[in-house]
Amino acid sequence: MERRYLLGNEAIAHACVESGVDFISGYPGTPSSEVIDTLRVQPDRPYYVEWSVNEKVALENALAAAWCGVRALCTMKHVGLNVAADPLMTSAYTGVTGGLVIMSADDPFAHSSQNEQDTRCYAHFARVPCLDPASVQEAHDMILEAFPLSEEFGVPVIFRPTTRICHSKGDVDLGPAVPGGRKGEFHKDPRQYVVIPAHTRVLHKKLNEKQPAIRKRLVEKGFNRYEIRGKTAIIASGIGASYVQELLPAGVSFMKIGAYPIDEEWLGDFVRKHEKVLVIEELAPEVEEIVRQVAGTVPVFGKKNGYAPYEGELSPATVAAIMEKAGFLKKSPFAPAAPVQDLPPRPPILCAGCLHRGMFYAMKKVFKDAIYPSDIGCYTLGLQLGTVDTCICMGASITVASGIAHSGEPRDIICTIGDSTFLHTGIQGLMNAVYNGADMTVVILDNRITAMTGHQPNPNSGATACGVEIPAVSLDAICRACGVTFVETVDPFDITGTVNVLQEAKKRKGVKVIIARQMCVITARRAGVKRGRYTVDAEACTGCGTCVRFGCPAIEFSDEKARINDLCSGCSVCAQLCPAGAIGREGKK
């Protein structure tokens, strides 16, 4: 046994190796990405690992591998499971032979997400088991149990860590790696794998028949457990259970829920031994609803009667406040501590030298008060530059643009989408827009990488997850194949050239595509690309503020003069914008 200080996702990855995983697929998404990022760089990998183009593709690949008897892991963030929901729902019917673990990482408080949906609801909906860890060590230990559980019942198992598990750290006890190395073998069985109505009706019944035994096994495995300590009880799940354990007063019973479905008979016995119970869980009232069903006359405190919030993430202070309000704790040990007011915020910002900033500037210059649908990626930060009017889900910039165009809205529409997002679910929208004759401009922000989630390669990067070089797809050819005739590639560091192409696109009817291509500034730096820094000639600077409004973090302004700090990466755009010609390359006159 070895003890290491690991990030939750690293501990999860290690547990997969200890489980002898054979096949791994997924699509990056915060907070899930580091699992595959850890697995794909291991030396002497006995397993197959891929970044897939989207979550539906990833899950179907993993499901097929599990049908062939090997152990498969598929990772995504919670909203990725929406994309993979189609195969998920029916994979519960077809079942699996090799263990299939679907990791869908939730993000309470939406630290880096568009919503706060709860993966446990999907598990309930699909009728598959769901494991919900309360700590990094438990996340590791649950993965070890997840593969055998999937194999025992022949169903996929959902593993649902949250941000505070994936991105928290702890000292973790690890076991030895187990070489997988199973060879897949597909046994033809149409009644299992061809879900025509006659087959699927039988499979649905079989899935339902598995449920009671699954519920019992989850209690036997110790995922759901309790300790009777008094007349009142707290039932808690996920990270909330860790917060409760730190605060739990003597004489209050404690039940820890770590797996679903919950055995109702077992739960009811516990609840009815108490005079009142409090349920602590993040997001949906999944546990609370079942507790209320079995509680009889025992009063239940939770979200439904206003004691706990439906939204956001829990913290030790909020849990203490809930316990105090519901009468399970005399007084919160935490005195209120208010932050200092009115400090200038420091939100995330596009990097100095990011290609997106130059492109957004050129778009705004040409398209002015147009409508700017956008998408999911670093470029959503273009909100700060006034060039992001909508963002709903992956691939929806193009479809929202065509929807607005067909609604009769008279203004120009120009949407932005990153290369990875375009390949994820953007192509169908583009094909649809061309097919149905929309008038709009699509800008593909092509930095050749999936940047926001930590620089994972995609089919546009020229390399696989494991670094094997492959020919990159041609975005230009894909767009032309969709029927677009105006497809132009620009360098967003060349503002004049980019503006010219945008003006041409603005004049034309139909769907126009502009590919704005430049390496992500972070990957460029890692690859050793060095451009000279730029500097402001203080005498020539008129203090007009044009460069400051460009919003680059390398540009500061004090005493009526602009100044370029050491974040400058040499994109040169500010030098092109300066009306006084006061910005030039460092060391040159």
């Binding site: 917060y243 354990q245 932050p339 200092v340």
Partner: protein, 195 residues
């Protein structure tokens, strides 16, 4: 309540708060102590304000509650001020005497407190203010400023300085071990005085 020693490390995305957290974690492993931590990943890192929670001896959740931190280590003056409410009344601060103004100050003309105003506020706590950037450059690399900061805090944390130095040596790139060992010592010499 658990008897953990709670440290909040704050700064700006890219300043090396995660390596600092890993060094503290490794030092805890060396001393066979439990540790819990939580940090910022993903888009929030892009030049934004970042926080790393570290609970030495922690056995439960990773988050530190405002008003409960024993120690605040900040790589930037403004971020030290922003997170100062996390400190308990007798908590200590180790702060890099360096201010990076957020871009919002320039683009939206927001008012920011001056360095002198911030330092006056920080002095309401037990404060160790040091120029970690210069000390790091003198040690051989500006990138070692995070190790300077840990050196400065070494005297007040419940970990042996030897364990911390060993953790630094294990975790920094091999080529930079000597520079970082120097940076740690420079921090130790600069730290320890709280006023």
């Amino acid at each position: 309540m658990s008897g953990s020693y709670d440290i909040l490390i704050v700064g700006i995305g890219g300043q090396g708060t995660i390596l600092a957290s890993n060094i503290l974690g490794e030092a805890c492993l060396i001393e066979n102590r439990h540790i819990r931590g939580a940090e910022t990943h993903g888009m929030a890192q892009r030049g934004g304000s970042v926080e790393s929670h570290i609970r030495i001896g922690g056995e439960f959740g990773p988050l530190i509650t405002p008003g409960q931190a024993d120690l605040l280590i900040s790589f930037d003056l403004l971020e030290a001020f922003r997170y100062s409410h996390y400190l308990k009344p007798d908590g200590k601060m180790v702060v890099n005497n360096h201010l990076v103004l957020p871009t919002s100050v320039f683009t939206q003309k927001l008012k920011a407190p001056s360095e002198a105003e911030i330092v006056a506020e920080l002095k309401k706590h037990a404060l160790c203010l040091l120029d970690a950037d210069s000390l790091a450059i003198a040690a051989g690399s500006p990138l070692s400023a995070n190790v300077v900061m840990l050196g400065a805090a070494a005297g007040v944390m419940p970990l042996k300085p030897e364990s911390l130095l060993e953790a630094v040596k294990r975790l920094v790139p091999k080529k930079t071990v000597e520079i970082n060992a120097k940076a740690f010592e420079a921090g130790r010499n600069a730290g320890g005085t709280f006023r």
